[in-house]
């Protein structure tokens, strides 16, 4: 089974991947571009961010890894470097695998090519095995607390501490230097029809023959009386491809053994590379917060529906400003019974930033990352969805709808996929129509969300909603001077 640094083996996560627009709406792509300039690494990080987990144990599992790596900077550096080379080997093996595939598919490969492919695959397996040993020995040199890294160490040890590990290495070494010019020995098995059913490479030590021609020439004079005579017959190999084709097939079987083993090792550790890229960016993010002296914490993960944050700052603003003091911090608490939060306020009063900071907190917390606030308690949600008002889509075939209809269409698509326990972030939804009609439409939708146990946060100008919603339906917040949000 593949080893993972993100999910425990018995993870209960049941979260659907987020719509890529969520990260876009929350400006997480932009925020992390300040953290990590390497586009590939950042993309891998964001893709893991999109695949949320709602299993609190998984979240704590990640938090522990970040703590271990943060406290042992040398370990993280060496681990990242080792896995990066391991990934390079994976790519090399994959390319060699193409040659092997060609050999099996075309069936007209020469013995020399088959030998070369065998050597390459033997070398790949040897290197893959040595990498496993290197991972283990590196991890064993540190005092670790995270169960993920300890599990990885255990998995590596299980392989390299077995006597069969050395045996495999010996075979790899043997075929890494394999030459088809010396002895080539095979075991032939015939089936009931007298056809060749198997043709396998064997070690030369199994071959015991007494050459009758040597005996004829008088060498038998020196033979000891009790010497065993091994029966054998000369094979007069004619010109043609018969024996070469069989030999290629036998070498190809051995090549498949090596390549299959390499692939299994790679697949067992395949996820680790991507996952370490995630932790690499996570560590850079923590360093960035440290540099800007932003108060941050690992949120407390609970399952009782609580959502609270003290001195929450918006990540994107933090990344674009010099220091934490340039960004206003707000407290937020979602009451226990309330299905949603309605945020009302004037233009430019910080409503959208507030919404974004809550969404960011939820995403980062569920990814196991620290969040930019003093204290936080988060309940993982099954899904995060956003609907931010957008400009009218350019005319294209099939899109004959106006802005309002576009919104309704998007919301309808979203509603089709929302599940119990989801969180919906709505930014100025339905303001592209008459406010009363928009408010009424939205009211029924928000009621529907609450009834379906879907949490919602709406930032809006539609003040009629405040009158429509009963106090139990939602908490209503207002913006105040200085980008403050008040109850």
């Amino acid at each position: 089974m593949a080893i993972s640094l993100l999910h425990r083996a018995d993870s209960q996560a049941k979260v659907s991947p987020m719509d890529p627009r969520v990260l876009f709406h929350l400006s997480l792509d932009r925020s992390f571009s300040y953290v990590c300039a390497d586009v590939n690494k950042r993309d891998r990080f964001l893709s893991i961010l999109s695949a949320l987990t709602d299993d609190p144990s998984d979240i704590r599992y990640r938090q522990e890894v970040i703590r271990d790596l943060y406290e042992n900077p040398m370990l993280s550096e060496q681990l990242f470097s080792l896995f990066s080379r391991f990934e390079e080997l994976m790519v090399a093996q994959k390319n060699a695998g193409r040659d092997e595939y060609r050999m099996n598919a075309t069936r007209n490969t020469s013995l020399t090519s088959a030998k070369n492919i065998l050597q390459t695959q033997a070398l790949c397996l040897k290197r893959a095995l040595l990498f496993v040993k290197a991972f283990g020995e590196l991890l064993a040199g540190y005092s670790l607390r995270s169960s993920a890294l300890l599990d990885l160490l255990g998995a590596c040890r299980e392989i390299y501490e077995s006597p069969s590990f050395e045996k495999l290495l010996l075979y790899c070494a043997k075929y890494e230097k394999f030459s088809a010019n010396g002895f080539l020995d095979f075991k032939v098995t015939w089936n009931e029809e007298g056809r060749i059913a198997a043709y396998e490479l064997i070690d030369h030590r199994y071959i015991r023959i007494t050459d009758p021609e040597l005996k004829k020439k008088g060498f038998s004079l020196f033979k000891k009386a009790d010497e065993t005579v091994y029966p054998c017959e000369r094979v007069y190999v004619p010109k043609g491809e018969f024996y070469e084709t069989l030999a290629v097939s036998a070498l190809s079987d051995l090549t498949s053994c090596f390549s299959s083993l390499s692939e299994q090792i790679f697949s067992r550790f395949a996820e680790i590379g991507d996952e370490l890229a995630f932790y690499d960016v996570a560590l850079r993010y923590v360093c960035c917060l440290d540099e800007k002296q932003v108060p941050y914490c690992f949120p407390t993960v609970t399952c009782d529906g609580e959502f609270a944050a003290e001195q929450l700052r918006d990540l994107y603003l933090l990344m674009t400003k010099e220091s934490a003091s340039d960004v206003v911090a707000n407290d937020v608490r979602m009451p226990h019974g309330a299905g949603g939060v309605l945020v009302l306020g004037n233009n430019g009063s910080g409503k959208t930033v507030f919404l974004r900071s809550i969404g960011t907190l939820q995403v980062l917390a569920q990814a196991g990352l620290p969040v930019p606030c003093k204290h936080a308690t988060v309940t993982p949600c099954s899904q995060i969805a956003t609907q931010f008002s957008e400009a009218e889509k350019e005319f294209c075939e099939g899109n004959d709808a106006g802005r309002f209809e576009q919104e309704v269409r998007e919301l309808a698509a979203m509603v089709d996929t929302l599940r119990d326990g989801a969180l919906v972030l709505l930014n100025e939804t339905f303001q592209s129509t008459a406010y009363r009609e928009g408010a009424e439409g939205l009211y029924h939708l928000l009621k529907y969300f609450s009834e379906q146990n879907i949490r919602w946060i709406l930032v809006s100008h539609l003040r009629d909603l405040e009158k429509m919603l009963a106090p139990d339906d939602a908490a209503v917040l207002h913006t105040a001077e200085g980008y403050r949000i008040c109850q």
Binding site: E158, L201, F242, A247
Partner: protein, 483 residues
């Protein structure tokens, strides 16, 4: 040894022309092998015996036994072909073992055929006779020895260096197997080595034969015991069993399509009576909804004319009569609810042919064919199926020829179904069938064949209306064009 009895006996004197099977479209529905059996009517005595076999096949255990038998026979035939074609000594030895093994298996399967009906019982009895049982016992013993010898030779080690050697295997373990074991210890698996089926090269075969010369000598001695035996004897059942199974499969298809089947009574006097007779050739056109019709030919009314609209099912009716007659004459079940049929000596068809007569005209060609049929039917009781015969000339001459032919057929004591467009037949003394719209069909698009004096123009209005050429449709068209 007593000669093995056949499953398909009798008849064979008269063979239907292949033209008949093409006219009836049976060549599109049945294999050439089945048609070759249908070509030889089996005679009044054999029909009930074959019907017994078909009845027995309705029992799933009998069907299973017959299928198992056919599988064994096919394997025996394949083994014999491989043996004949084996060019390399090593192949020949193995193929010969397979020939004996499959022969033994085929004989055992034939011996265990369910003894249901005279024909199957005779075969089973023959192959379970004490003489054959003893032979089987000896063969089984020898096969065991042959297999043991072959097992001693089934593996070898090949070594290639400056000289190339073949030596017996002494428990050599392949490199893949060693690696697989180590991999398993680490929790990994390696793919199974690919199974090959490669023909052995002559040089390797020679080396094997030299290495295992004593073993092969032993084999030759055992093979010698069966040199003079006719190992092909049971293979004759292959085509016979295939025929029964193919026809049985048609009966199965009938069951799932709502088509009735029955075993007709073999009538002692010339007649052809059937209720709900189906034309199964429509299956070849993927038509599953087949309208059945009744048939009632007797010595009093041996000839019927059949008239009606185009698309009214006249040819279908003709084929239904012909197909089921041919099936009955070969001892097969027929596709009808019930039937009583006389085992006619000859069935012949006269259908229009493609117009590619290089030397003679169409009418001359039709006349020549008709003469040929009547000559073949001389001194026999024949059933002749005629489809639009003599339509290749003007009305007057065509009708006159039709009248003369009908008289000649009746005078010779033959039976005939004659499809024609000549509505003047209504005035003749012969009975006439016509295609009438089925009153039970709400869509009024299916026809039934009924004994009638016919109505030449009753269907024309429907056809005209369908193509919007009837009076009302033409008025609407005119109004549509503003005229």
């Amino acid at each position: 040894m007593k000669e093995a009895p056949r499953l398909l006996n009798g008849g064979g004197e008269i063979e239907w022309t292949s033209r008949l099977f093409a006219d009836l479209q049976l060549d599109k529905l049945l294999s050439a092998q089945a048609i070759s059996v249908l070509c030889s009517p089996c005679g009044a005595r054999e029909i009930p015996l074959r019907q017994e076999v078909f009845r027995a096949l309705e029992d799933p255990t009998v069907l299973q036994g017959v299928n198992a038998c056919l599988t064994a026979l096919n394997a025996a035939e394949r083994a014999q072909t491989l043996w004949r074609e084996a060019e390399i000594p090593q192949d020949r030895y193995h193929a010969r073992i397979a020939v004996l093994a499959t022969y033994l298996n085929a004989c055992e399967q034939l011996a265990t055929l369910p003894a249901r009906g005279v024909l199957l019982a005779k075969v089973a009895a023959c192959f379970s006779s004490s003489e054959r049982r003893e032979l089987a016992l000896a063969l089984r013993r020898d096969l065991q020895t042959l297999r043991e010898i072959a097992a001693r030779m089934h593996q070898g080690l090949l070594s290639f260096s400056d000289k190339h050697w073949l030596t017996p295997d002494r428990d050599a373990v392949s490199e893949c197997a060693v690696i697989a074991e180590a991999a398993r210890d680490l929790g990994f698996a390696v793919p199974e080595a690919r199974r090959m089926n490669t023909k052995v090269d002559l040089s390797l075969s020679d080396a094997v034969c030299r290495l295992y010369a004593a073993e092969l000598e032993e084999m030759d001695a055992l093979f010698g015991r069966y040199e003079h035996m006719d190992l092909r004897e049971p293979l004759a059942y292959i085509s016979e069993l295939r025929f029964f199974l193919e026809m049985h499969a048609l009966v199965g298809r009938a069951g799932s399509s709502g088509v009735s089947t029955c075993y007709p009574h073999v009538a002692a006097v010339p007649q052809y009576r059937a209720k709900c007779l189906f034309d199964i050739s429509l299956w070849a056109k993927h038509c599953e909804h087949i309208i059945p019709n009744d048939v009632d030919f007797s010595a009093e009314e041996p000839l019927f004319f059949l008239i009606g609209a185009n698309g009214g099912g006249k040819t279908t009716y003709l084929r239904a009569v012909g197909i089921n007659l041919v099936l009955f004459l070969a001892g097969c079940p027929v596709f009808a609810r019930e039937a009583a049929i006389y085992p006619f000596d000859l069935a012949a068809s006269h259908f229009p042919m493609d117009e590619r007569f290089d030397r003679v005209g169409r009418l001359d060609e039709e006349l020549a064919r008709m003469t040929e049929i009547l000559r073949a039917a001389e001194r026999k009781t024949a059933f002749i199926l005629m489809n639009e015969t003599f339509s290749g000339t003007d009305d007057r001459r065509g009708f006159e020829l039709l009248r003369q032919m009908a008289a000649e057929i009746c005078q010779a004591g033959h039976f005939c179904l004659y499809v024609t467009h000549f509505h003047e037949v209504m005035a003749l003394e012969y009975p006439v069938l016509s295609a009438e719209i089925d009153a039970d069909d709400e869509n009024k698009r299916t026809y039934r064949i009924v004994k009638s004096k016919g109505n030449a123009s009753s269907y024309a209005a429907d056809i005209l209306k369908k193509y919007r050429l009837d009076k009302d449709s033409l008025r609407v068209r005119r109004e549509g064009h503003g005229n």
